[in-house]
Amino acid sequence: MSQAILQIENLRRVFQVGVEQVHALKGVSFSVNKGEFVSIMGSSGSGKSTLLNILGCLDTPTSGEYLIDGVSVKERSKNDLADIRNRKIGFVFQSYNLLARTTALENVELPLIYNSSVSSRERRERAKHALEMVGLTDRMFHTPNQLSGGQQQRVAIARAIVNDPVIILADEATGNLDTKTSYEIMSLFQELNEKGKTIAFVTHEPDISAFTSRIIMLRDGHIISDKTNEPLSAMLEIQKFKTSEIIPNS
């Protein structure tokens, strides 16, 4: 059996809104193994954002157990959680969240700045390598406003992998992109997944989750289905695009 990266046991999260208690997660259990490409699906209000926040160690569960890479996050201090995020998790956001007027390379370096065991030379090397992996070697010194949406998301992905995390958490990472660019980004995720990266992808679009190898459906704080999926190849989908496009000599 392969190694479990995420282990969730009967996870609950209750928010206090005024006098009312809102149960966002009502006992969720699953685990993600190394090398898996999981999509977490659900409509708004299903609890997927809450789940993602907890998986990303930005929030802590009201009850239940959550282990990341074998480490329990229960009753950890804020600084401990920050260190876990820094060493074990890579975030990719819907709106990229790159620092404006800052080069791609410096944006990618950012997580390593908060890791005191990485020297500035090593930081630069690793950031360059991460940008190579997302295919942006020639855009290293461009600032976000000089990059297209797809390129900005690639920079964000490079930033997510630069600290060599145990899991990449993507939150609607294709939500701001057109279909073709979305597929390109999914192709990049598939590529990273083939290289052994574990990825959890939150989305509400079924055609995006079709590229993942496992789909977890959430509704009203419960898991309603959790099944493996034969993933489509994003590369092939992009090629279909090319043939259907009627733009001569582009």
Binding site: N53, G56, L58, D59, K78, N79, A82, D83, R85, N86, R87, F91, F93, N97, L99, A100, R101, T102, E106, L110, P111, I113, Y114, N115, S116, S120, R159, N163
Partner: protein, 406 residues
């Protein structure tokens, strides 16, 4: 996360908004430069007062006749004849803390040389008076004790009198001039000293043996004033006590009765003259300090705006592993960099302005190291103090909400 990275991050963030950083800094620049200028002007006017008072004499102590009161009305000291030449001799022979002492007679007289004439001040003293009053010979020589014994009709003349009585290129030494009706031989000229703080011309002086002034011009048997030099500034107080004791004994003043003389030291005169300029300096510095506070509030304001504006960035930094303390330090660092660079510019500008002012005012230019160091410390403190709350606000943001902030 090390401090070098922190400074780099803060610096880069500031550079992303150059104009804003510059304007924010301007408040501090103006505040610090005006503090430095005001302190500088204060110190150089103080120094110029010091200069002028010390020009009056070396550790000068003045003994004057006491003012009199008759039926509650002050009648001044013109009729008081309490100081005598023998008091001077007593002081000269019986004190430890006095290096030189001289009787002083003052008179106004018409001074005439051929077609030129000048209403000038005549001063009589002994051979030590020149040293006590810090007069220096330009040409010729001082009168001698022999001249004093003989009531000699000789004089040393100040620069103003030389200019008024003699044509250019004429050497006054050896010439005979008239003081009133008395022919007097010029035996020396004095180096110019310029005006004193009160605007009196210190070069309008004709110095003669005191016996000559006392007997030949004034015809009095008391002494107008006694001037003495203390051995050093530190013992000036002891010298005053000594003088008071000797004179009280000599004048046979009963215990508890008032002195018939007044003793003043240079330090007291200095104090008197500096008090007004000190007050002005304090006032102006206080106003300048207020502008520094306003500058600090400017920093605080901008840092608040920055924190709000960069909420998303803060959320991102937290999500990729920044500790709250790193965020706090980053924003604190930004405000400290702003205030320190502003402070440095302010110090340079302030030194330049106080230099220009001192040149215009003709006062000595003094770089007050303490003011410079103090300003620098104040700058850093301003940065920390006014940057703290915005930085604290940034650090206490919740990463989830910060990331969603639009």
């Amino acid at each position: 996360m090390n401090i070098f990275n922190l400074i780099k991050i803060a610096y880069k963030s500031l550079m992303r908004n150059k104009m804003r950083a510059f304007l924010t800094m301007l408040g501090i620049v103006i505040g610090i430069s005006s503090v430095i200028t005001m302190v500088g002007v204060g110190e150089s006017s103080q120094a110029s007062i010091n200069n002028q008072v010390s020009q009056m004499g070396t550790n000068l102590i003045m003994v004057q006749r006491a003012r009199m009161r008759e039926r509650g009305v002050s009648t001044g000291r013109d009729n008081v004849q309490s100081l005598k030449v023998k008091d001077v001799d007593l002081l000269a022979n019986n004190t430890k803390y006095i290096s030189a002492v001289s009787p002083v007679f003052n008179a106004n007289a018409q001074i005439i040389n051929g077609n030129y004439n000048w209403q000038g001040s005549v001063m009589g003293g002994n051979t030590d008076l020149m040293g006590i009053r810090n007069f220096e010979l330009a040409t010729g020589s001082n009168f001698t004790d022999d001249d004093i014994k003989k009531y000699a009709k000789v004089a040393l003349i100040g620069h103003t009198i030389v200019e008024e009585l003699f044509d250019e290129n004429v050497d006054p030494i050896g010439k005979t001039i008239r003081v009133g009706n008395m022919p007097v031989k010029v035996i020396g000229t004095l180096k110019p000293k310029g005006e004193n703080q009160m605007g009196d011309d210190q070069d309008d002086i004709l110095l003669m043996p005191y016996t000559t002034v006392q007997k030949r011009i004034l015809g009095i048997d008391f002494v107008h004033m006694i001037m003495a030099s203390a051995v050093s500034e530190d013992v000036a107080e002891n010298a005053v006590a000594e003088i008071e004791a000797i004179l009280r004994a000599s004048h046979k003043i009963q215990d508890g009765a008032a002195d018939d003389f007044e003793v003043r030291t240079q330090a007291e005169m200095l104090e008197m003259m500096s008090s007004i300029s000190g007050m002005m300096t304090t006032l102006l510095t206080a106003i300048a300090a207020i502008s520094l506070i306003v500058g600090g509030i400017g920093i605080m304001n901008i840092m608040y705006v920055t924190v709000t504006e960069r909420t998303k960035e803060i959320g991102l930094r937290m999500s990729i592993g920044a500790h709250n303390s790193s965020i706090l330090l980053q924003f604190l660092c930004e405000s400290v960099i702003l205030s320190l660079i502003g402070g440095l510019l302010g110090i340079v500008l302030g030194l330049l302005m106080s230099y220009l002012l001192s040149v215009i005012q003709g006062m000595p230019y003094i770089v007050s190291t303490s003011a410079v160091i103090l300003s620098f410390v104040v700058c850093a403190a301003t940065g920390i103090f006014f940057g703290w709350y915005p930085a604290k606000k940034a650090a206490s943001l919740d990463p989830i909400n910060a990331l969603r902030y639009e």
